[in-house]
Symmetry: C2
Subunit: 263 residues, 2 copies
């Protein structure tokens, strides 16, 4: 069985590493810049830890799953090369190319992109995570598909990808996750002026998303914008006069809803 | 027991009327502009129907629950006055004032605002709908609170409101429902270019919303904007070059996420 090293102990790693462990993968070491984070995650997994400079990580793993910030990933990949030339190097990022491994001299490289939002406070259920897989060598692609299949238990969630497709998926995910979540941040901010907690909106948010399991988002749309109720949209825009940032977002999204409704 | 007439057979009425019926309210008649819609809903409820001009509706009800488009509501309210001066007139809208009943001569007026998104294709579970209640007379306010309590079965979902509070709730709901849903429309549009169905995003959307039951939206935020990953946000913005409408929304929401993260 392949020996896996986890590089990183952030949001992705603390969700992915225990799931890999639970699916039967042999995790031999966790590395993190921070000793406390490395030891905490390694403790959960019952494996070794290392910290500080990334080249202190074991040379003994077959697969290095690198789940670090996009902006430090190229440097981490470069520093991992010497002594680990035979290993499969894999990253989990949505928008970084496979080629950054090649540029660092790695021959066996892959992408293992779980299209999900990860927080430290919550353990993700990997049986419902779509994985998008790339690899420079067919055997490694098969190995990564197998790893993803063991996590999801469902071949329909394991996809062969390309860098271009993964970038577009990541962009679509930013709209469906980060921007969707931000609409709730803005809603919470409006409620906060009346001292109301965002929890009052949860039944509405839950129903809005439940509908998306039965209707397309365009079919599911309701509200003053799509019914072209200019009285209400005008009133609501005026209510945001003291918040030009929210007013601008309100106008733009209202116009966009109406544009899509016409298509 | 109060006799209830339902004015309208649109999204709100086809959800609310059967729920009222199921909670023990006595619905005597459904009116709709369209005969087919009136008869269809009345058939489900086992009550009379009327259609065409709204003043053809029965004069025999104690409560008229008016669930029509905001833009026709003032006219409907005016036409319902003669012969129904003693009845309680109630609307279900988020942003229209109670005063429009007074202007039409009605003394007994109320608002029965269910803060939820309604579609004809899906029956809403009213046990998780927050109701915001107003009335011109305290006895009617109590009667409407009782009606809402019978629908939800939980006093924590029944709220006394004011027009100002209800307007702000409606505005917050537009962000948390309509704008949130529109982010999914935009995501679906991006996926569509690769021939992918939006269902591939549902595990991500579900997890994003599940997190909101445990974290505030600001705590729950992830992605390139909040981690100030200028490489990815720059790349994603460039990917939308052929779609200036999406690019503008992308830039604006990215900036807004970063602004809230600094607060």
């Amino acid at each position: 069985m392949s020996k896996v090293a986890i590089i990183g102990a952030g949001r992705v790693a603390v969700n992915l590493a225990p799931a890999l462990c639970g699916s039967g993968a042999q995790i031999v070491e966790v590395w993190s810049k921070s000793r406390a984070s490395a030891e905490a995650l390694a403790g959960r997994l019952g494996c070794r830890s290392s910290w500080g400079e990334v080249d202190r990580v074991t040379c003994d793993a077959d697969i290095y799953v690198i789940a670090v910030r996009d902006d430090v990933l190229p440097d981490v990949v470069r520093r991992l090369h010497v002594g680990r030339e035979q290993a499969l190097m894999v990253h989990t990022a949505g928008s970084l190319p496979l080629s950054l491994f090649v540029e660092a001299g790695h021959e066996r490289a892959g992408v293992f992109y779980p299209m999900q939002t990860f927080s430290k406070e919550r353990q993700v259920d990997f049986s419902r995570v779509h994985f998008f897989i790339e690899a420079s060598i067919p055997d490694d692609e098969a190995a990564l598909q197998d790893l993803a299949f063991r996590l999801t238990g469902d071949a329909a969630f394991v996809h062969k990808s390309t860098a271009a497709l993964r970038r577009r998926l990541h962009l679509a995910a930013v709209f469906a996750c980060n921007f969707l979540n931000h609409c709730c941040t803005l809603s919470a901010d409006i409620l906060d002026e009346d001292g109301l907690p965002f929890s009052v909106m949860l039944p509405l948010v839950d129903e809005t998303v439940a509908k998306l399991h039965e209707l397309t988002p365009r079919e599911a749309q309701t509200g003053p914008a799509v019914r072209r109720d200019a009285n209400v949209t005008g009133l609501q825009k005026a209510m945001l006069a003291a918040r030009p940032d929210l007013q601008e977002i309100y106008s733009m999204l209202t116009k966009s809803i109406q544009r899509y409704d016409k298509l």
